[in-house]
Symmetry: C2
Subunit: 487 residues, 2 copies
Amino acid sequence: MTPASTVSPQAAAVDRALSAFRFICGDEGVSLGEAVREQHGRDESVHRSGCRPPDVVVFPRCVEEVSALAKTCYKHNLPIIPFGTGTGLEGGVGALRGGVCFSLRNMDQILDLHPEDFDVTVEPAVTRKTLNSYLRDTGLWFPVDPGADASLCGMAATSASGTNAVRYGTMRENVINLEVVLADGTIVHTAGKGRRPRKTSAGYNLTNLFVGSEGTLGIITKTTLRLYGIPEATVSAVCSFSSVQAAVDSTVQILQAGVPIARIEFLDDVMMDACNRFSSLSYPVVPTLFLEFHGSERSLEEQVNITEEITQSNEGSDFQWARDAETRSRLWRARHDAWYAAQALRPGCKVSKASPPGVICFPVYVCVPLSRLPQIIVETKEDLMESRLTGPIAGHVGDGNFHCLMVVDPSDPDELHRVHLFTERLARRALAMDGTCTGEHGVGLGKRRLLCEELGPSGIQAMQKLKNALDPKNLMNPGKVLLQGER
Amino acid sequence: MTPASTVSPQAAAVDRALSAFRFICGDEGVSLGEAVREQHGRDESVHRSGCRPPDVVVFPRCVEEVSALAKTCYKHNLPIIPFGTGTGLEGGVGALRGGVCFSLRNMDQILDLHPEDFDVTVEPAVTRKTLNSYLRDTGLWFPVDPGADASLCGMAATSASGTNAVRYGTMRENVINLEVVLADGTIVHTAGKGRRPRKTSAGYNLTNLFVGSEGTLGIITKTTLRLYGIPEATVSAVCSFSSVQAAVDSTVQILQAGVPIARIEFLDDVMMDACNRFSSLSYPVVPTLFLEFHGSERSLEEQVNITEEITQSNEGSDFQWARDAETRSRLWRARHDAWYAAQALRPGCKVSKASPPGVICFPVYVCVPLSRLPQIIVETKEDLMESRLTGPIAGHVGDGNFHCLMVVDPSDPDELHRVHLFTERLARRALAMDGTCTGEHGVGLGKRRLLCEELGPSGIQAMQKLKNALDPKNLMNPGKVLLQGER
């Protein structure tokens, strides 16, 4: 009956808890199968070291079951790891200390849509694409778009953002209320049960404490989200530049001019080359901006005119337009496929979305104040050259956020070492420029030490106190975000 | 030497701490004077019961002094009450248990303006008007506007908003980083020292935990704020309606149409009558919207056209325009003077901005989802009539937020009792409509019991745990927000 190979005290505790788990979720709601456990022990990141699969995976069907399961874990001192879609990029679902993975895939209802109030409540298995399909006929949409078809509760847990954040904000600005189960099984509604006012000053902002807490404070079982009207018109464009500086200068000037741009994505020459090859496009292989405008027909015209004036003053190319839905969708798919495109850059590597053999690809990213972007991107490109590394750059430059998509041969220890040093230099470069080591994707496993540098001892200590207050036994996703409980 | 009339243990502790206070701030930085203490023991609210002046007022000049003073208070178990401009409306600065008022008026520097990154850092004595005067030549402004010329750090502490929130958000969306001194003197930078990325997912959102914490978790000593470009063009308009429903329906439809309206304020017939009299205006005495549009000339034209179409379909009047700066300023001054205008409604009462004798005026306000506004406003007006109370209504209706400006004769116990019952009914009406008892102004003293109803026991318990974690001795502004430490 014991899932772990050695009969540790924890394995014995799991054993004792199993009958309670089965009583709560039914036999089919509890899995000890190796494949299921393996699958629930990893996300899309490269953070595998130190992780082991959870001891058991449970599949609750409602918040009451989540609460009852948590109470059981609390009684037996078993770690709890919430699992949505597993599309995270910082190792957030890895079971560092084993324990119980709460897969929330059976909680997949879209609840309480209020079109006239621009809000909706969703359960954890509802992904952003599912929600937007559901909303299509209402004229509303949910804009936050991290690329992957992530679960919306998971996006709340990791404070996700993406290409639209420059206009619509991140999850922080778009979550109105959360239902959360704490480690001891207590159910909390962060803004009060069923409440959905547009603004509130009612006590401490619990909602935004749980947004971005990465499962380390509680399990998010419902999220109430802010919705937006689908824009009357949308148009996308591509503009090429002779230098990184010119592309980023244009970005800064577009925002300074108050253009309510919906997306403004930077891709460097290496990234453009990769996208051209992977997505059969034929854009110039130079620093490039992908742009998108939302609004009425008239407002689009004005937005585009101002933007073109600015890009031309920075010697940008004429815009290449993507006006109809299909062309736009192709353009943005190319942007979202940058990851796969990057992988395909390495010679001898068979490209496949499922699992490209031979190389691994992972994003290294930071966020800095807008004005520091040209300098940090130029320095980072030089560093990549000097370090003999492949890392095409793409970024949500409107937020000062960019990624190097590192393509690495995992069998080459020297290359892995150079990547490690490069990653740390990049993060410290961002910190030295008043920025953050993680503008999106969270801290997870990979950025815990950098978080200490970013916040300093007193900030970390304050976070640790909050963690201890809400999770005194350190059972909620232990070892993530903070280094506590690991050393 | 003892400031309190009886020599309590606390008075003795104050006595012991005084020499340390004087060593830290200098003699001129410590005041025991009765007038100074009285003045620092109240805000602009009517919450006086149970409050007494602080035992002593200190005037630190820098964060190091704030920290040293806090350490002294911590050692002697003395309550700490931060004081900005005293313009709060929920009794947040009242010294329930006496203690040490930290007046932050000597910390008045505007620091680190980065126009190209749209951010600035300010000390606690900088008010929003001072900041906006300072910014004038940069083409930037800070839009959050609660009416009063409050301190920006105080606005962060109370999660303030106001007329512009519908477009620019509240303090929650516009604070990038805070420097905070905890009860034990620890200095925390909520997003790391000097950091100002546009977005971050670096650990728990400490910034938004302190925004709205009303001095109960720490003393805010610096705030980094997001700035905006001054709009190319601005125009205001007034539109009259035959019913509350028609005015609010228009509001909902304007927002649904995606008009990026900058201000949309509702005033009921009683409020319009009061404003006309007080500000020498001559608008029709019917439900009215005050509107403001920001943008380019062309975008204004489009915004106005859509809005006019909507108001006309709801049988609104033609717009009365306020195009030039002076007329606009007069219009919005009338809106901001609603409080004084309301006071003047009571016959026999001499009107004065300073202190109108005879009556008191205070706002009672709630926030509900947009679609519930017509019903709650209609029911509230009926309730006012039935309760024989004067309470003109004005509201930031774009956020679902409105105020009844209660004008009350404090010498009439029956009337005071009716106001009390009315206030509770209003809050419960909002709670029953998925709303909040406090959309702005915070909880302070007056809404602590309602907060319990709004959040339920588990939410309150979670807040209490956070409070205990960061302020284990309950020294930070004790008795505010949570009922802890009072009963």
